[in-house]
């Protein structure tokens, strides 16, 4: 790993904290275009370990209805890649929380991968997740660019990913792996099924060299606590967006949401 990446905030987070990491995902520009910054600041204040900010896209095929709706509303409200990068720079002035940008490949390609990486890095972004970017394309065309800009790229794995491929992904990962909890699009669920637990156990037994976070369907204290038993931590998305849709961006309410998530499971 190059020296730039050693100072990466995500790397530092995973070095200093081995369990119970909570990362929260939300869509940039939702509910309104000006909400990206205050939400990030409130989450940092609430003690969240990492934030993932979604770059909205018109055709989010890996997302369920909640995130689809937030994407639509964000685009209609004027969210754009350039606007988001400026907002991240404002967030970065107020907090040192690790920031990941997550989105579909096309908006980033249109912005220009090189320009995106340079400006994201300058704004204070630490990592990028582009679920529809093929691994081979990343390795051939973008890895050096990411490294040069001190950005980590996280790959997804899912219950249908073969062990061979998981190991291949592990071997090119710098940072963490995003373990999707089920063969599903994003959404909320009250509890995990037995087959998901079996998958988590299988994952843990692989002894991967990188930490992984479990995401998709983590939506309450119970699912969070379960995920944290098997992984370095977990990612909450749809459930938080539902909270924003219902209660707005009030900082105290966001802190309460995070507090409730972290309740020990009953």
């Amino acid at each position: 790993m190059g020296s730039v990446l050693m100072k990466n905030r995500i790397v530092q987070l995973f070095e200093s904290k081995k369990e119970g990491i909570l990362s929260i995902f939300y869509t940039a520009g939702f509910p309104t275009v000006d909400d990206t910054v205050p939400i990030a600041v409130a989450l940092a204040k609430a003690g969240v370990d990492m934030i993932e900010i979604g770059i909205p896209f018109s055709d989010p095929i890996a997302d369920g209805p909640i995130i689809q709706q937030s994407n639509k509303q964000a685009i209609e409200g004027g969210m754009r890649v350039a606007v988001l990068l400026e907002q991240v720079a404002h967030v970065r002035k107020q907090t040192s929380i690790p920031i990941v940008l997550m989105g579909y490949l096309n908006p980033v390609l249109q912005y220009g991968m090189e320009r995106f990486c340079q400006q994201a890095s300058r704004a204070g972004v630490d990592g990028v997740i582009l679920p529809d970017m093929p691994m081979a394309e990343y390795l051939q065309r973008y890895r050096e660019l990411f490294r040069a800009n001190g950005l980590l790229n996280a790959f997804l794995i899912s219950p249908t990913t073969s062990e061979l491929r998981i190991r291949a992904i592990d071997s090119v990962t710098e940072g963490f792996i995003y373990a999707v909890s089920a063969s599903s699009t994003t959404g909320t669920r009250h509890q995990f099924e037995a087959e998901q637990i079996a998958y988590f156990e299988r994952l843990r037994a692989l002894g991967l060299s990188n930490p992984y976070l479990i995401g998709f369907g983590i939506s309450n204290a119970q699912t969070l606590a379960t995920a944290c038993r098997y992984a370095a931590g977990a990612i909450v998305g749809s459930s938080f967006i539902q909270h924003l849709a219902a209660q707005g961006v009030d900082s105290a309410a966001i802190q309460q949401f995070v507090h409730d998530l972290r309740q020990p499971a009953p």
């Binding site: 018109s58 369920g64 390609l109 249109q110 912005y111 679920p131 081979a136 063969s183």
Partner: protein, 396 residues
């Protein structure tokens, strides 16, 4: 100099277009298809069953009909490749027969599909009924209204039709929903994509299943003209499957002029169009890198066409490449021009075409032919499904 490449390369690309841009959840399915589609489809038992069904069930070969009055009108030797006479009324069934046989060999129990005009939905529902497999078709809510007969045909065939209610509620949105469904049901379900779109190997696989169209054309042209090569082949392009099939065996013969006809909608400057080569830029949608109608910020622009089957903001990566290297000429015609051409074909040849196909007919007016030019138009489908749109348009 290297000869230009028309076929897909080993990485799944046609020049700069193609590839497999999919979330990890779909990777095992796409990988299994990629590894096995060529081997499975070239097995003798597969070929035997495929050919027998195309002959006895679909009704192939479809006629190559010399359209006498149309020929007089345009001053050329015009032939119509009668895909409208296929069982279910369009070329779409060539592909669904191939894919259902493949799905069986992959051990899948359930089938999903997207549909725009409903022709691919009906063709999928039909092969699922034939094979006794459970079938679910996603269709934009707007398309369910404008192609109502096809919705009911699918239901009679025992298929569940699920409305897609996002975006403009058309083909793009139905495709999004089908992909989401597949992400949620990756192991028991095969997704029968209806055009030469989607992640590799779909574009190549669908093109190969449709290639029977140009294979027959060649044989039939030898019989009728003593020469397998026409001067022109015309086909409408939504995703581009009927065009891929009609062009396939002529690609390497560069003296055959290939013309793809896109939906201009209300005109390419109207903001309501689906003419992707005129309005698109390279981008990634539905699993492949291709030409795509989009904003500067990479958001997909909602297309418009009077024809549900052409109402899509992209084209297959193979066509994006053929456009890029100039092997295929792309033109577009407006909603109005297409409707007029549909009525004109009805009156000169007694054939009411699908509105998609009517676009290919309308493009003839943009060309000056020599009287000896042999022109083949791929008559991709019949117009029964479009009666409501013809009636609403009213000018007949």
């Amino acid at each position: 100099m290297n000869k230009p490449r028309y076929e897909v390369d080993t990485q799944g690309y046609y020049g700069q277009f193609g590839g497999a841009y999919i979330p990890e959840m779909l990777y095992p399915n796409i990988e299994a298809l990629r590894e096995r589609y060529l081997a499975i489809t070239s097995e003798p038992s597969f070929q035997q069953e495929f050919q027998a069904l195309l002959r006895d069930y679909v009704g192939r070969p479809t006629p190559l009909y010399w359209a006498k009055r149309l020929s007089e009108k345009h001053g050329a030797r015009i032939y119509l490749k009668r895909e409208d006479l296929c069982h279910t009324g369009a070329h779409k069934i060539n592909n669904t027969i191939g894919q259902i046989l493949l799905a069986q060999r992959l051990g899948k129990q359930k089938i999903i599909a997207e549909t725009g005009a409903g022709q691919h939905g009906v063709a999928t529902a039909t092969v699922c009924a034939l094979m006794g497999m459970e079938c679910m078709v996603y269709m934009g809510k707007l398309d369910m209204e404008r192609q109502r007969p096809n919705v009911e045909r699918m239901r009679i065939l025992g298929t569940q039709v699920v409305p897609a209610t996002s975006g403009n509620m058309t083909l793009k949105d139905a495709t999004n929903e089908a992909m989401r469904h597949w992400i949620n049901h990756p192991t028991d379900t095969h997704y029968i994509i209806g055009s030469v779109v989607g992640p590799h190997p779909y574009p190549d696989m669908v093109a190969r299943f449709q290639a029977v169209i140009s294979e027959e054309m060649k044989r039939q042209l030898i019989e009728k003209e003593g020469n397998p090569f026409p001067d022109y082949v015309f086909a409408c392009v939504g995703g581009g499957s009927n065009a891929a099939g009609a062009f396939y065996h002529f690609l390497a013969d560069e003296h055959v002029q290939l013309v793809g006809v896109e939906a201009g909608g209300r005109g390419i400057d109207s903001g309501e169009s689906a003419a992707t080569t005129a309005l698109g830029k390279p981008g990634v949608l539905h699993g492949s890198r291709t030409l795509l109608m989009q904003t500067d910020d990479g958001q997909v622009v909602e297309p418009h066409s009077i024809s549900a089957g052409l109402d899509y903001p992209g084209i297959g990566p193979m066509h994006a490449h053929l456009f890029d290297i100039g092997r295929v000429t792309f033109v577009n015609v407006t909603d109005d021009e297409a409707m007029k051409a549909g009525v004109a074909l009805s009156r000169t040849e007694g054939i009411i075409p699908a509105i998609e196909t009517a676009h290919a007919m309308a493009a003839l007016d943009q060309f000056e032919f020599d009287k000896d030019d042999v022109v083949v138009i791929n008559l991709s489908g019949r117009g029964d499904k479009d009666l409501e749109t013809y009636i609403k348009w009213g000018q007949y």
